[in-house]
Structures are given as C-alpha cells and as structure tokens.
C-alpha cells in the first residue's frame, strides 16, 4: 500500500530523516514510537507531503507521490490525517467541518455530505454535537470530530500524528477506542504515539525510530518483550 524508499528529509543543514525504507501492507496498522526529535512526525508528514521530500521516493498504491506529474491534491484525498492539536476549523460547526472537504473537493451534494457526516459522528459518538462549534467541545471530543472529518473523505489510509498527546488523561481512552474500532474495520493506519498499550493491543507492527533512522521493526510482542537493539532497550526501559 505504501512503499518508502531511501527517504531523506533535511531542514536546512539539519537532516531529520536519514534513509528510511518501509513497506506498509493494506489493512496493516503500523505504530511508530521513539524519542522526541527522532523524526517520526516528520516521516508521517512526508507521507502526506505536508513536508517536501529532500530525496528518495514514496509510492502510495503504486503511484510515486514525489513525481510532480501526479496531482498531490488527489493523493491527499486518499490519505486522511489526524493532528496532535486537532486543527478543527473554529469558524465552522462540527457538521460543517465534516462537510467542507467532501462538498468542495469531491463535489458531493450538501445533503449527501450531511448524511454521511452525521453517520460518521454517530460512529464516533458525537451526533448530538453536530451543530456545536469546536470551541464548545472537550479535547477528546475535538479529536473524535477530527477523525470523523478525515474519514468523511473516505480515505484508504489514515495517518495519526500523536493524536492523544494534547489530551487530558481521562479522555485519551475515548479517542483510542475510536481508533481501535477503525483498525478492526480494516483501515490501513500509521500511528505515531506514546501510548504503548495501544501499540501492543492494536498494532500489527511497531517501528522504533531514533536519530532519523528506523532502528528496529517487529510485531509488538517481540519488540516490547525482546528488543534486539540497545537503543530500543534503553528507550523502552525509560517509558515502561
């Protein structure tokens, strides 16, 4: 589904990603962990081309997204993204947040978009908030709306960039629950997170990144219980 080859990314002289190679299969849930500054968020943002790529290639469903001939906006419609700080549109109601992209980008009629939006809100347990403004929601509710907003475009892949890091502990669970449900339905997901419980329970594969490299990748059980690399061991010993 996603093939990443020799991906490099620099900000000025600072090389953040130093040769990443990664294949992600359809319906696979890949959890990316690592210390801050390891490049995991940058990797995610590169997959969506929110960051330009310095070198290397990323293919999504066989199409090279670094090729200028391919329409980047079309690509992004297939890849949903959920941000740490939600980034809901504060001047629109919840349902309008969900309807905007389908109506403007996919040219879906407002009625169809509204029905689809309400259905998604029901799925994340927020149908009664359809006409509320984002500012009146709690953090956990905002993030669930953000997930629903991304799903409204019916993406084939969902990227989560530390979706629970900005949340109060008591609402982390409700967001993770929605993500678990999504995984169960067979969505291809790449999740950058510090929630090791989620990684263990939902992840098909866990990737440990450090210093711009993928240091180790394995099934969760193996990676957590039997880390091969000493940097992985050092990181896990600090957080577990």
């Amino acid at each position: 589904m996603i093939q990443i080859q020799n991906l490099k990314k620099s900000f000025g002289d600072n090389e953040v990603l130093k040769d990443i190679n990664l294949n992600i299969a359809p319906q696979e849930v890949v959890v990316v962990i690592g210390p801050s500054g390891s490049g995991k968020s940058t990797l995610l943002r590169c997959i969506n081309l929110l960051e330009s790529i310095t070198d290397g290639h990323i293919h999504i469903e066989g199409k090279d997204i670094t090729d200028k001939k391919n329409n980047i906006n079309k690509m992004r419609q297939e890849v949903g993204m959920v941000f740490q700080h939600f980034n809901l549109f504060p001047h629109k109601t919840v349902i309008e947040n969900l309807m905007m992209a389908p109506t403007k980008v996919r040219k879906v009629s407002p009625e169809v978009a509204r029905n689809k939006g309400l259905e998604l809100l029901k799925k994340v347990g927020l149908e009664e908030k359809a006409n509320a403004y984002p500012s009146s929601l709690s953090g956990g509710q905002k993030q669930r709306v953000a997930i629903a907003r991304a799903l409204a475009m019916e993406p084939k892949i969902m990227l989560f960039d530390e979706p629970t890091s900005a949340l109060d502990p008591e609402v982390v669970g409700e967001v993770l629950e929605v993500m678990k449900q999504l995984a169960k339905e067979g969505m291809t997901m790449v999740v950058v997170t510090h929630e090791m419980g989620f990684a263990r329970e939902v992840g098909d594969r866990v990737i440990f990144m450090d210093g711009g490299y993928v240091v180790e990748a394995n099934v969760p059980k193996e990676l957590f219980e039997n880390p091969q690399h000493e940097r992985t061991q050092a990181f896990l010993s600090k957080i577990l």
């Binding site: 929110l50 992004r76 419609q77 700080h85 980034n87 905007m100 992209a101």
Partner: protein, 218 residues
Amino acid sequence: MDFRFDIIAEYAPFLLKGTLLTIGLSIAGILIGTVLGLLIGLGKMMKNKLLAFPFTLYITFFRGTPLFVQILLVHFGVVPLFLGETNAIYAAIIALSLNSAAYIAEIFRAGIESIDKGQMEAARSLGMTHVQAMWNVILPQAFKRMIPPLGNEFIVLIKESSLAAVITAPEIMYWGRAMAGQYYKVWEPYLTAALIYLVLTISLSFLLNRLERRLKTE
C-alpha cells in the same frame, strides 16, 4: 472675537452635501481598497520572490509617499491620461482606493499570518487546493481578526479624504475652505468641519465596537 453662526448656517447645505460626499468617498475607498488589498496582500505573500516583487513595490510606494502627492498625481496625471479630462471625484476615489489598498494589503497579510499553520495543513490534508484552503478556511478566520484594523483604516480614510479638497472634490473640507476664502474666517469653517469629521469618526468607531463584540460572542 465674534463667532458668526450666520455664515455656518449659510454654508450648512453645502457642508451637508460635502459630508455625504466624504462618506461616499471613504466607503468607495475602503471597499475598492479591500478588494485590491486582498489581491496585493496575497501577491506579496507568494513564495516566488520575483512574482511577489511588484506587489512589494506597490505597497512600498503607496505607504512611502504622501497621499497628498498621490491625489495630485492621479488627478492631473492618471485620470486625464484615461479620460482625457480631469474628474475630481474619480481621482479622489482612485487615489484613496490605491492608497488604502497598500495598507489593507498589510492588514490582510498580518491577518493571514496570524492564523495557526495547522489550519492550512488540516485543509490541505483533506485534499483541498491552496486556493480552496485560503478561501474556505484561512480567510474567513483572518477576516474576523482584520475587522478592527480595517475599521481603523476606514476612519483614517474619512479623515484623509479631506485632502481631496485640493483637487476641488466638493467634500467637507472643500466647502470649509470656500467659506474661509469668502469671509476670511478661521474658527467658523474649520471648527465646523472638525466637528463633522468628529461625528463621523466617533459614530463609525461606535459601530465597529458593536460589530467586534458581536463577532466575539459568535
């Protein structure tokens, strides 16, 4: 000093007409200036420095030269070039619009840059083009923040439109000067004019305050 109310009364109808023109000039200036200012502000923000340069130049020129000079240039230079004759009201509207556009461009730029980067990223990640994201997500939010500085610019325009008197656009100051010229009086014409401007600017700031409060509670 005897204050002659009779000459104010005599000029009242002219000052009233002048007030309407002053209002008209500033409304036209702020409306046209806002449309132009948006385009110029977006132009200046283009990543391509070469394409952005003319817009930067425009802003530099119109903010760096006196409106007085711009009015004379437009009246005796630009308008006759196109119309073959002068037209004080056109010239005043053009000069005020061009001038305010430069300031409004900077207001737009500041407003757009004040919106969190995440908003653009969220919109783009949903597949919107840069233009769609700008129009549907960034500008509506930026516009709300731009209302106070835009209101200020409106007030500035009301006051600065008085410079159009020099090209005989018959607004408040033109009649104030006519009155001064006829009677060789200072207080009567200029105090009256000052009072009219004050009423205009105070009412406008009152309206703007109310609008701001309404938007805030929304």
